[in-house]
Structures are given as C-alpha cells and as structure tokens.
Symmetry: C2
Subunit: 186 residues, 2 copies
C-alpha cells in the first residue's frame, strides 16, 4: 500500500490542502507515515496528473498561496476499488526480537535491564497512543457505523501495544524465575 489512498481517503471526507493532509497523517495513530513534505506534495501532484483530484488555488495576502484539493468521481472510484481489494496481512517489525534472539551473550542483570527498558518503551508508547486518540484531530463521523469503524481502528492500535506489554512483562517474570533458583542455592 502507498500513501496515495490515505490521502484520497481524507479527500473523500472533505477538500483539504497539502498542509492539512500532512498534519492529519503525521498526527494519526494508525497511518504509518511520517507525513513529510516530499511525500505529501509530490503525491498530490501525481494524483492531480491522474485526474483523481482537482485543485483550487487561493491567493492569500502576506501568506503563501493555499492549494485546496478535492476528490473527483474518478478518484472516488479508485479509492473504492482499493478499499474492497483483498487486505494484506499486518506487517510486524520489531527490532527488539532480534536483539533478544542474541541476548544470551548478556549477563542476568544486563538482560533484565534490557527487557525492562523495552517494557518501559512500550508503556510510554501505549500512553502516547491513548493520548493521541483522546485528542485525535476532527475525524469523519458521518454515520454511527463510521464512528464505530474509527473506534475499532483506534482500538486495534491500543490492543497491539497492550498485548506487547503483557508479553514483555511475562518475559521479564520468567527470566527472573530462571535466574533466581541458582542464586537461592544454599
């Protein structure tokens, strides 16, 4: 998947400028892109070239011109085709697993410290996630069903971090159990 449909999605909600899209993408919890200029602005040029969006330029006094993009019928059709296309499996990439795979080179205390750091990292990420969702920028709430869908999307993010956190805690507990008996020997 590319950022194209994330942008088309927002434009299917309402007309927006590149600057707005950039912020919406950067602030979103479930969209995996940083929302950097290069990506957003060049994608908009491409979508316009392909006639999936139209532009309207508003010249403003003492501020750069604002280009408001709107989705076209062709754009709406393209978005719809993508939405009903076969979903991909979620991509899990967790570099900590790779660290852990070779972490037997560490001493007990070092390993506990490493897992502790990961636990803390995930805790922090979960807080950020919840906070981001709490004050999510205005999102479409056109129908009860749409509100529900967005709720479930956000729920997915929270649950993923929660599952990760409980795994990390279990890992730490088990590692402590593995190392303690020998220390407690008479």
């Amino acid at each position: 998947m590319s950022i194209d449909f994330a942008i088309l999605g927002f434009l299917s909600w309402r007309p927006l400028a590149g600057y707005d899209l950039k912020k919406l993408i950067a602030d979103s919890e479930f969209l995996p892109w940083s929302g950097n200029n290069n990506q957003v602005y060049t994608t908009l040029v491409k979508l316009h070239r392909d006639e999936l969006v139209t532009v309207e330029v508003q010249h403003q006094e003492s501020l750069p011109a604002r280009k408001t993009y709107s989705i076209t019928e062709k754009g709406r059709a393209s978005l719809r085709t993508w939405i009903i296309s076969a979903p991909d499996t979620p991509q899990l990439r967790n570099s900590f697993l790779c660290q852990l795979a070779w972490a037997d080179a560490l001493q007990t205390a070092e390993l506990d410290d490493l897992v502790g750091k990961y636990e803390h990292e995930v805790e922090m990420r979960l807080l950020v996630c919840r906070e981001k969702i709490r004050r999510e920028p205005p999102a479409p709430n056109r129908t009860a069903r749409e509100t529900f869908l967005w709720k479930m999307v956000h729920d997915n993010c929270v649950r993923a971090y929660e599952a990760e956190l409980s795994w990390a805690r279990e890992l730490r507990r088990e590692l402590a159990r593995l190392s303690k008996p020998s220390e407690a020997a008479p």
Copy 2:
C-alpha cells in the same frame, strides 16, 4: 535497525556463507527481511570492509566458490553494543486499518465480506507462522536461557497474530449486530 546485526547475530553463532544467511533470514519468522541477494551480499562486503567479519574462500569442483564468513572480536563487540542499546518500539503497519477507516462507503454485505477476507488472511498467516516455527531451521540452543529466549521470540509472533484475529472476529460480530436490528424490523 538494519539487517547488519541480524547477520552479525547469526555469525556470532557460527561461521556461515552468504547463501546460508540468505536462507536463514528468508525462513525466519521474526526477522522482517526478505533475505534478497542484494541486501545480504552487499552487507557482507560492508561488514568485511569494516573488519567485523573475516572471509575464507573454499574453491569447489564444479560448483561456485563458497565464501565462509566468521565474526571477529570487533564484530562481536559491535553486536554486543547494539544488543544492549535502547530498544525501539515495535512498528505496526497495517494497511487494513486504512481500508477500514474509509469503508463506510461500502454496503453492509461488502463490508462484511471485506472484514471476512481479513479474518481469513490473518488465520492463514497464523497457520504459516506456527508451521514456520514448528520446522524452524536449526537455531542456537547453547544454553537453556537461549532456548527460552528463542521460544519467547516466536511466541511474540504467534500472539500478535492471535490478538489480531480476535480483534477481527469481534469487529465482524459487532458489525453484524449494528446492521441486523434494522433488517429485523417488522
């Protein structure tokens, strides 16, 4: 993180050729890389240039020469530094969430079909994951702790897909509840 440490990790276990590493990476459940030639072979050249590994060339009759790479002390130190470095948060990228966010444009049956396809996709992925783990290529089992660490790493993958699956099922159930009452009206 880059593939460098995944390669150094395997080499910290035992000497291997690029061809072996490529397969180990491709077959691994928790390493997120495809294990394509370009990446593996060029990384090995780089690691060698940086003196993190040494090479030994075995000329074989009627087969291309085999280059066996071994980790150096410098390589082991570099790997260790990375292992104890602050872990990153796991990266979740799920394009289905983006599809779902704009799926209110679909009709009840279409939406149910979409979520059903996702559920099936995750089910299949979970099966593949379990199967891959069941016949994982020989992995280091140097200590009981290392065996435990690898078990937990694999567990992490399985649990992530299980969590995803239960989320998808709940989503589908709730969507059915949302749409049925109106249909059941007299």
